[in-house]
Amino acid sequence: MKRVSILAAAVAAFVMAGSGVAYAQASAQQRTQQPERLEGKPNLNGVWQAMNTANWNLEPHSAGPNPVADRQVGAIGAIPAGLGVIEGGTIPYKTEALERLNAHKANLINHDPEAACYLPGIPRASYMPYPFQIVQGGNDDLLMVYEYANANRVIEMRDVEIPPIDTWMGTSYGRWDGDTLVVVTLSQGPGEVKLPAGVMEPNGVTWLDRAGNYLSPTATVTERFTKMGDNHIQYSATVEDPELYTRPWTISMPLYRRIEPNAQLLEFRCVPFSEMLLYGDLLEESAAPAAPAAEAAE
């Protein structure tokens, strides 16, 4: 029954997205009509987006050139600076976790699941530079839909369990702590991961940003969504993983409502965009070096 009402809400959203002008009017009207609370809980429905550089690096960082393509894309692909979103500044990695971190840093972008259009996991999905939508019914499970890679997750409003298997997005369990939505996500594990040039990574992990920061399948991610007025959510995520970190650590940031009248998720089905990165090495050797040069000349 819960599933049905979520589906109905999703279908309604989809149908409304069908006609541009009608949707814009309906959407503006709907926003003014939207109740502040649903079944006594804050109404989180809407299209939301972070506005920071956390997806480049959760830690404080200076501006810098693109790690792999500064020659082709120059300042367009460069990294904007950021003050960081971690409470206390840095991620408390254990010494044994640094080897893998350094391996990631030696293969930025090339080994980043985002470049391959793999699912982003939690919390990264929340602060990628794409909007996401929260679909909330009454006293019901919630749906979060992300523009990036058509990712989505159901927040199951029930007690935390051990999920049956590891998945890229993990399994999310939610509860209300007063007016705050608290979501616990477990078992984020990509398993065997295809990397560029025919390399297979047998024990994939979830990347947290383009700087190679990561969590492992044993991590517990606890997110908190607190409405701060109509157009803001204060968002935080605490990552606990005794395998990797000396203590739990927390990121926090505001999420902003996309308030333009025609705010909606568009499609970013990125699998085709990652094909040359992942499989370009299978092209004829003579053709491979010519491709970047041709692109640069355009």
């Binding site: 298997i165 590891d166 398993g191 025919g198 297979m200 699998v271 992942l278 499989y279 299978l282």
Partner: protein, 142 residues
């Protein structure tokens, strides 16, 4: 080198199908597997892949006195989860017996409706099309 590339291409093709074209492999029993080429595989599980659109059991089977690595196609992860499968259902090293249908291209791949354990217990692989083919084969035998 050539071989490595073929392997990479094959893996690439599998991944591409698993991320992009979910519908393709759901309707492909007849195009990918041959109902007239049954095979019995007995051996130890190497790994179990929870991938869309179909899961895969990798096992080292004894075929004609030699050990061969075979891949057996099961149902979609969601179908298996509905049947109560989880991460502990088929650990590496488990002895299994599989009555499967071979791939048309002669590769060491096959599709099966269920697996059996040496103690006689059976476990459905949640593969409706293959189940129908297996049931038809059983009716033809009886």
């Amino acid at each position: 080198m050539q071989k490595k590339k073929w392997t990479a291409a094959a893996i690439g093709a599998v991944l591409a199908v698993s991320t992009a074209g979910v519908a393709v492999a759901h309707h492909s029993f007849a195009t990918e597997f041959d109902r007239n080429k049954p095979i019995r595989l007995e051996g130890k599980v190497v790994k179990f892949e929870w991938v869309n659109p179909h899961s895969w059991i990798h096992l080292d089977a004894q075929v004609n006195g030699r050990t061969q690595r075979w891949r057996v196609e099961g149902g979609a992860p969601s179908a298996l989860l509905r049947r109560g499968w989880n991460r502990n259902s088929l650990p590496a090293g488990t002895e299994i017996i599989v009555d499967a249908f071979r791939a048309r291209d002669g590769d060491t791949r096959a599709s099966a409706a269920e697996i059996r354990f040496p103690n006689g217990r059976e476990l459905s692989l949640g593969n409706p099309t293959t189940e129908a083919v297996a049931a038809a084969a059983n009716r033809a035998r009886n």
